[in-house]
């Protein structure tokens, strides 16, 4: 095993692991970034969503070899309690969540949407989140939160 470079949340990092190690395991176990969640390991639920070069991708099925040199953004890179992303603030303001396990993946999908489309319709939001499962039934609040974040970003919120 040779060390390879990945760029996570803007930091160039060296990782030594088998080339077929899932990106999710690299993030959680090798880099200690446990904000990205395991949900199914089957690329069906979206809990493990991260941005790879700006596109939302399920990290459970993405081997390390496929992301070498690419820019990866995880939930930890989206915002922090001190500097929340408008989406994170909107999810808190709308109380959009119950168990919250699915939220990091949903926030990543939502960020990918708003980065491309600053004024999405409700239908476009639903379509952008359709790869993410929320089992508690917080969908309506989540879509409201994405709308709120989009408004706040259009009105000059950061990012």
């Amino acid at each position: 095993m040779q060390p390879v470079n990945v760029i996570v949340n803007g930091n160039a990092l060296s990782v030594t692991a088998n080339a077929d190690t899932p990106l999710l395991d690299i993030l959680r176990n090798h880099l200690g970034l446990r904000g990205t969640k395991f949900g199914c390991g089957l690329e069906q639920c979206g809990c493990c969503m991260v941005l790879v070069d700006g596109r939302p991708e399920k990290s459970c099925g993405k081997p390390l070899s496929a992301v070498v040199g690419k820019e990866i953004v995880t939930i930890e890179g989206v915002g922090t309690p001190d500097r929340p992303h408008p989406l994170q603030q909107a999810f808190i303001d709308e109380q959009a969540g119950q168990c919250g396990y699915c939220l990091p993946g949903i926030l990543i999908s939502a960020k990918a949407l708003l980065d491309q489309n600053p004024s999405p319709s409700r239908k476009q939001i639903a379509e952008a989140l359709d790869d993410n499962i929320c089992r508690c039934g917080s969908h309506i609040r989540i879509m409201r939160a994405v709308e709120r974040a989009a408004r706040s970003m259009r009105q000059g919120g950061r990012r």
Binding site: N18, G39, C40, L42, G97, R135, G137, H139, I140
Partner: protein, 708 residues
Amino acid sequence: MSASSALPPLLAANPRLDQWVGFPSPGRVNVSTGRVEIGQGVLTAMLQIAAEELDVAPDRILLRTGDTDLTPNEGYTAGSQSIQFGGVALGLACAEVRTLFLEHTAARFGYPVADLAVQDGAITRRGEATGHDYWSLAGAVDLRRDATGRASRKSVSDYRVVGRNAPRVDLAAKVFGEPVFAHDMVLDGMVHARVVRQPRRGATITAVDEAALRRAAKGPIEIVRHGNFLAILGADETVVEAAAGVASNHVAWDGVDTINPFQEEARWLLQQPSIDRTIGPPPLPVPTAPGNRYEGSYTRMHIAHASVAPSCGLALYRDGRLTVWTHSQGVYPLRDALVRTLTLDPAAISVKHVQGPGCYGHNGADDAAADAAIIAFRRPGEPVKVRWRRDEEFGFEPVSPAMMVTAHATLDSAGLPADWTTEIWSGRHTSRPGGGGNLLAAEALPDPPPLPPPSESSFPPGAGTRNGEPLYDFPAKRIFHHLIAETPVRTSSLRGLGATLNVFAIESSMDELAERAGTDPVAYRLSVLSDARARAVVEHAARLADWKPGLPTGTGRGRGIGFARYKNLAAYAAVVAEVEVEESVHLLHVWCAADAGLVINPDGAINQLEGGIIQAASWALKEGVRLDTAGISSRDWETYPVLRFTEVPEVVAELLNPAADLPPLGIGEASGGPTVAAIGNAVAHALGTRLRDLPLTRERVMAALLKA
């Protein structure tokens, strides 16, 4: 209240005040609750209750929860009982603590107690500071005493924290991806483990191709075997997972029984031996005129909890003590079950709750914790983390049993039921490990415990019989219950238990009877509903939806209503659904009105109603566990689909009189049954023909249309 007041049950069971409240350091308050956060927001509500009754700012409170070393034993966090019972006990304990401090201050400094109050922990006299507070007096007021129940809780009009919307205390950490879940825990020197599941109870291992497992792992693993319990361990989770992913190909089993896949549909229940009982008066003689009789049968398949992530448990056995971290709903019952499985002393086991993915009943959480405990017990000093695989959770968690319900009614001359029977066929809805059920792994150990006997709770609240008795004013009503002892797969409690199908059956029947009587479904219900709170939610839901009688049926667009008082004891909820049906059902709108008495956190309660509506819509439209001869075959999200973002309806949910001076009523499960019923009635209205078997899939809509 007088000194002889009976304590609420959970305070009577845990009377010591220092079990509930402590003042560890200046400005800080420890509050303990046996209730655990399972996604429902209970921590926030408990914090509000404690802050209110102690008169301290909520952010002074450290809430300790679900820990056999630290918190009261409140059994399970289940059945929509946390606020109705746990919150009442906590509130009264806090009120008594506040009273003790006020009385101590009065006696010690010679003030009339009526002049004293608490403001954010400081004792005031007629609004002026006394210089004393909880922390300065804590050494003199001994909380190592039993609650008496003599303290009065505040009156509702004095509430400043309870009854106001409070943001969830756990939510922010989750949107920033903080490692708050059991799945995120890392212990020093921890090994990851996967269990190679015994395919069916009684199966025995005949061969393990260890070389093949090691080849697949591509890294170091250990294989642990105890009887027919087999686990793969290693420091590198990726390596362990790689071996576990192929393990079923490399482990041979003997004595694997098979089942009949036909059992995935509930009608097989009719052919099974059952334990029968009647709840209620004997039936009236059946009238001879068939026009005066109604009979309708309704079914539902097995339903999975399908938490968004599979279960996870951690354990460490060191110096003769076992510590277990789990997202189980009941740390004390799990401890009792581990005592039996490992033959350890209860005092040698600590079970600590850590949050997990949303929990809607008895899923794999206890079993994953037991897996970790069994492995850790055999490897002293080594922390063990077991995270189930997705197919393992779908394949081996206990599922909610398939059910069939037949409603029988004898009608009076006005077309209203004079006599009503709800006849229920169901497997068991309760097999929690603390209630006599088995931990899954125990069945694979040497000397497995016997199959637990079938069980059913008394009505009300009932389990399979839950909500089997309509709340309507029928002169005579009863339940015939057929408890099916043997089910093809493990079954246990899922949000709502039997209420989901019982309410679907009763409310579908009510719509058919209304149609037969030529009456609007809302008006028909109100004509036999004298409970004022029940009437109010039905009327309010109809108003929210702008309900109009007499809309034509069979147009492809339809509306329906469903109503129940959960358990016949908890919150009231009425739901109106609007659907469009072409080949499949599109759920457009849902309106819900609920009365839960005094509501601690109104926004939290509405969040629960909304979640219950969407989850129930998913049950109604999409969900049913698939079986093949080997057991559960729907082991991923494609074979067990749930409602997704593009499929959810617009939802409006409102609370009636949430600040009423009325006891809180459990709300977490209240919207489910009425939602399934409302959708069923809306689909019947849209199609002009009724579907009686859930889920209401495209295939079933097409079949019903062909038949009609």
